[in-house]
Symmetry: D2
Subunit: 307 residues, 4 copies
């Protein structure tokens, strides 16, 4: 399958039915770049505005509403030596009565060292002088154009994907999105060199990326929320507030997957999930929070993925 | 330190200021038994009612309000060859519109095979015929008498602990509870041979246990929510609804821990948590849900635990 | 029916199976006093601790688990010339990012003038110099002993009633509680001379009361949450977090009432509620929030109350 | 000021930067029509799709980002003799365990009789045979184009307004929206002849309307959420899930209004709201719920509106 090298010239702050920047065939691979969440590129130049400007759109020939877009995240490489983060936990993740004791957040620079495979605060922390975090690049925001002609802010997320800030969206993972428009119209951006669960300071270590991904169309599949898989797990993502509702979306989608594609009864799927499910917190910062329902493939009746 | 062998003769469905069943010294170890969530003992005899009858109370000499009780979970051994589970995910963990399509839940028996280290459905599942889950015994409900003379149902949880159903409460973990009454008055029960995140079917594999634990009093410590640690992690548990509030409690408690005991500033603690924190879903079934905020000890300024 | 004049000598900070202070017959009326939320009586003397100390318990002969206790609130009279309030909205009712801009709350004294029927700040407000609020006395916290031997803090609420802080609990209203223990064991306290919806500053105008109420046992009725009625409305109260769940409890209870006692089908009840229901916010401050589902009696098939 | 008679020829299912259908001057009045939530017009003809197709856009000369659009709802007249409703409460407003007992919802027709001022079920209800509800026409969905080029589904709501389903948006009310784009781009639709609090069946009595409204630009005002006022009250609307967050948005916006425009300190505003505020439930059905924070004008330092 061909590989396209694409250099973006404009970026989007909404995920919607914007004009195609590149048309690809089903199964093609794309190598391109993303800029950071504030719109700064690999050269340190501000080329777009907030929030989370997206590279795209990528139009996939043959993709139609009702199909599923599979996105194989082949490689996610931070492509500049710096990143930044907010340095105070967000007010919404602490007790309301505790919030007033939080200092005002500042942006802190980090040095990203791909050779050593770590990121370090540009200015060492007094009580954590040796802090060096293993790079674990992930995509904060990606997805496909939603239904109804909606153009949804890249600050938030929904059934179409968007700003989920889940660290499981890393190289080696395939993400699945429900297609609502012809061509699917894929967007990608908001790379994090490192991020904890929940993105509780409101950022990961934000930086620009070179990304490589393959786009495949699964015809006639029906999914309601983003799904994903890697070598070991299948997972579903629910995006909503409160977290309870995100759990409901993700769990319902997993039940649909297990009963619809793996042939389990609701009782069998329940017994399996009841004793084996794991939940990951994507983000608890954005307008919609993200919870992920995850199941080890070893428990599945057949190890082949069925998206 | 002495080890007490204690045989319970009564059980409690509330965690409150009930009379001491055993008085121990600070640092003593107790070996005793717990019955299952429905009140059935190791012989299959129903000896107490629902919910989650507790063995206790254990009065620890020297424990006073304002101190912390450390509970080292030394050993948790299922002590009968059967357990049971509900076989349908709970209505509150799926989308409301999906709930009507759930079948009515039944109880299913499991065989527990300590020699093989696995549990299997007593009646094999049609599409998961070889299902055998590694035993991972954990305590669903434990804690200490709360303040104000409250007697809190063992169906729920709070600052005093209670029915958190977190699978991190397993052997090798130390749990910490804030003491509200003289003697601490410790309770323990509701053993699960296996349980997935969230206890989303409303049970783990429920069974009776032999348990061994050590009770230590940390004088003059001040904690607001249950804490815990094992070889690799420290963690805090928040108990509330919605999950968002449970996250707030757990994160606030972790910030207090990192700033109060490990000497980090709020900014340092935020930067560390922002990129390194992990959240675990305890339960999303009980009246209060449980979220756990967890941090690898390797990131801490000093590996020694400070509870 | 006889009227009892009862002078309390002790107060409770939990609603539980405490010893009867007065035994009454089904249908008896009680005139007694309550102290304010901080434990100060009509003479300004501190006679109990926080939170919301209750007068009680009132044991009603013939009341059994499974019955319902009807409490006719005949008269609620502030009985001292002062009250107090917190003077800043609670952090949990504003946007988290706004919370840090709230000043620290202080207690403010109010003058209560029963002759004029108003309350005024003891120290006039600069920009609201003529502020005088019509007295609208209500009971913040009342209810009956819960099941399982629980003793539930008077800071919170549940199916047994408790600290609902709903301003519809005023004279002329009948409240209904599900009875869990023999004698019902009724408690009452936490009078507010005035209160806005939600108790968003964490208090109403807190003061001591003389109260008069009639206790009636409705045999063999089955309710799950507190209900109430006045001349014009029937209502149900749901106590939980988030408010969404409180709405679910209250709405479900109203559906049970309309289908169980008024003979409506679920479709008829839905059509009636869908176009005619009103919701009131009890409190959004306490550990459990309260939402009330209210329906005008004029819509009911038969105007007679059926509790 | 001139009055425009406008006949719509197309409708929108998103609120976004769609092309102007009518350009008006600041202060002009518009008389136009809206179709029902499913897209049916006054003649019973289906002319648009779901959800909640909007009439618009109305471009107001002189309106700029950062200004406020005042919409005086002069007249809302159902203009056909029929409407419809869903006949079962939504699954999300009852306890999850109760949801399976709800029957499947059907649409029910209503007769709207403007002469008599009432609506009646087309097919009388067995147990509510005389049901006749006073017409109380309101607008379910209206607002202005949001920021960032977003196009937001008319199923939901946000700072820009949208599908709030609040029955206080009736004739005699002025609504205020924060303007994000040049010309404001106002939309209106989704009329309800009658609706209970919360829109708990998922509809009011849905029908087509003739509407008359005046559009005014308030220069240099800064609001964050929709506001409104009528003869007796000012109010703010918060749109979010859970309801708790909707309350936070609405309360914060009211505090900003009272401190920013009425000159109260936070303490004074808190004391006033604490004892006098009322909250209304807009909807608890749509993707974003709506809570309204309402204050009687009689309490304000100066009765003149300051939007």
């Amino acid at each position: 399958m061909p590989t396209h090298h694409f250099t973006p010239t404009r970026y989007y702050n909404t995920i919607g039915s914007h004009p195609p920047a590149l048309v690809v065939a089903d199964g093609d691979t794309v190598i391109t770049t993303t800029i950071d969440a504030f719109g700064t590129d690999r050269h340190g130049v501000s080329v777009a505005g907030r929030p989370n400007p997206q590279t795209g759109t990528f139009y996939v020939n043959g993709a139609l509403p009702g199909d599923v877009l599979a996105v194989d995240l082949v490689r996610l490489t931070p492509d500049r030596p710096t990143g930044f983060m907010r340095d105070v936990v967000a007010a919404n993740v602490v007790d309301p009565a505790f919030a007033p004791s939080l200092p005002e957040a500042q942006l802190r620079e980090w040095h990203i060292d791909p050779a050593a495979g770590v990121a370090r605060p540009a200015e060492p922390l007094l009580h954590l002088p040796g802090m060096a975090l293993a790079l674990a690049p992930m995509i904060g925001c990606f997805g496909v154009a939603p239904s109804l002609g909606q153009a949804i802010s890249t600050a938030t997320s929904g059934p179409h994907g968007g700003n989920m800030d889940y660290r499981g969206f890393c190289a080696g993972t395939t993400a699945y999105f429900p297609i609502s428009v012809e061509g699917a119209l894929f967007f990608i951006g908001d790379g994090h060199a490192v991020q904890g669960d929940g993105e509780i300071v409101g950022t990961g270590i934000e930086t620009s990326f070179e990304v490589e991904f393959t786009l495949r169309v699964l015809k006639g599949r029906q999914i309601n929320w983003p799904r994903g898989e890697n070598d070991d797990f299948i997972f579903t993502a629910g995006n909503a507030r409160p977290l309870d509702q995100a759990v409901q979306h993700a769990t319902t989608e997993m039940l649909r997957w297990l009963t619809g594609d793996y042939g389990l009864t609701v009782n069998e799927a329940s017994m399996l999930l009841g004793q084996c499910v794991e939940y990951d917190l994507g983000n608890i910062y954005d307008p919609a929070y993200t919870m992920v329902c995850r199941l080890a493939k070893r428990w599945l009746p057949d190890a082949a993925s069925r998206a």
